[in-house]
């Protein structure tokens, strides 16, 4: 595993830290590879952990796709958008299928695909001032990889509003619409609250938790990866349109 994601074990609680703080933990291929490597390790041997906390190093949780990489003019690579999106789609399917109970501890900005990851996790925690949201449509993009997860997390009606309106919201607003399950009063209180909730969950029987999670996955259609994988193709085709590339370019200039 390269060090763009760090996996640590502390008894029943494992922590996966998204570790590209200089790029606000934006998802590059390298970062997604590191996340996949962490999944592989946990699938093979979770070393006695049955709770997984995912958080971000530095100020952001995950700023979403690495926009520099998907701007074709800049990267000179027309296929990278599709590769990134496919890799992200596969990661979400894999993360959802983990027998560990997963908690997103959203320390700062969780944007686009980064916010999508919080919806894939079983539970999510943040603080009042975090910024979360799905601004894909603001850039002429379609959040197709994460849409199925957002629909499952928020319910279809509120998901429709969140994904079509774009923009970002505060941790408090995210908590109000059900995107976040637990809200810490301030950033300083997040680690403590995360620890309390992870410890509370860890008191459950690992087999009972895994069986419950597995059933919930079956009931809500999470076991069928097709919609998510098709989403990568749809997202990539929208990403390749001149309008989307122009919107990305003007965002990079800002």
């Amino acid at each position: 595993m390269n060090d763009a994601a760090l996996l640590e074990h502390n008894g029943p609680i494992a922590t996966l830290t998204i570790n590209r703080p200089d790029a606000r933990n934006a998802m590059s291929l390298e970062l997604l590879d590191a996340m996949h490597a962490a999944m592989e390790q946990l699938e093979r041997d979770a070393r006695g952990s049955h709770i997984l906390v995912i958080t971000g190093a530095g100020k952001a949780f995950c700023a979403g796709m690495d926009l520099k990489a998907v701007l074709v003019e800049r990267s000179g690579d027309a296929s990278i958008g599709k590769r990134l999106l496919t890799r992200l789609a596969e990661l979400t399917v894999r993360l959802r299928a983990l027998p560990l109970v997963t908690i997103a501890s959203v320390n700062g900005a969780a944007i686009g695909g980064g916010c999508g990851l919080t919806c894939v996790c079983d539970l999510s925690i943040t603080h009042a001032d975090a910024k979360l949201g799905f601004p894909e449509v603001d850039l002429g993009l379609c959040p197709a990889v994460i849409a199925p997860w957002v629909v499952r997390k928020l319910g279809p009606g509120p998901a429709r509003r969140a994904l079509l309106m774009g923009g970002v919201m505060s941790g408090t607003e995210a908590h109000a619409i059900g995107l976040i399950d637990f809200l810490a009063g301030s950033r300083d209180e997040l680690a403590g609250l995360t620890h309390d909730i992870a410890t509370r969950l860890a008191s459950g029987g690992p087999k009972a938790l895994a069986a419950t999670k597995s059933l919930l996955n079956r009931l809500d259609g999470s076991e069928d990866p097709q919609a998510v994988l098709r989403g990568a193709e749809l997202s990539a085709s929208v990403l390749a349109t001149p309008e989307a590339q122009a919107a990305l370019k003007s965002r990079m200039v800002k």
């Binding site: 894909e136 449509v137 002429g140 197709a144 199925p148 319910g155 279809p156 009606g157 998901a159 989307a244």
Partner: protein, 244 residues
Amino acid sequence: MIRFEILGDLASVTLARPEKRNALTPDMLESLAGVFDRMPDNIRAVVLSGDGPAFCAGFDLKICAADATGETMRCLLTGLSRTVRAMRAIGAPVVLAAHGAAVAGGCALLGGADIVVAERETRLGYPVVKIGVSPAVSAPFLTAMIPDGPARARLLDPELITADHALRIGLVHELADGPGATRERANDIARHLATKPGMGVAATKALLNDLARPRTDHADDALRASLALTGMDEERDRLTALWS
């Protein structure tokens, strides 16, 4: 009784039968579905609202009661199903402004909308089982918006709910104070959606429709279930009792 206006790349569709609280007739639903079917491709967002004291009180039951053959009720149910499907089928998102009442067929129109703003005093629900009519026609679209638990309660329990309750269950997405502010907020949202670049919004709406297909693919079955009861004794007795 349906007003259709275009302003640049925005369209506004208004139920305009205020003296009857916008109670729906077969002709109104025919024009309403037609307006959405023929929505110009360059339109980027649509606002649906109602004139007068209420967004929509549902079907015009007086004309239903007067038609012993049940044909009027059948036309209304078919027109409603067609309208909701037409709203979902257009590429542009539909923002619905509800005030006063969004009841029965009026509440069903919410099932075709992408974003719903409601005035705080609005009452919503499907009290049609009281008149022997099944709201089955709306079930695929209601369950494509809100979780099954609240959807079941709304379709079986004839009680109306407050806008605040509707917000909690996800049937409404924002509240506003007063009919004017509600329409204004819906217009703001539509303008905001229209500024998004490229095909992101249209592609995302189409994708969300696709994800909802396990529910909305039952639209024909649902309409048949509602049609099966029209003109039967239970419905006739209860409808005529309303006016006696």
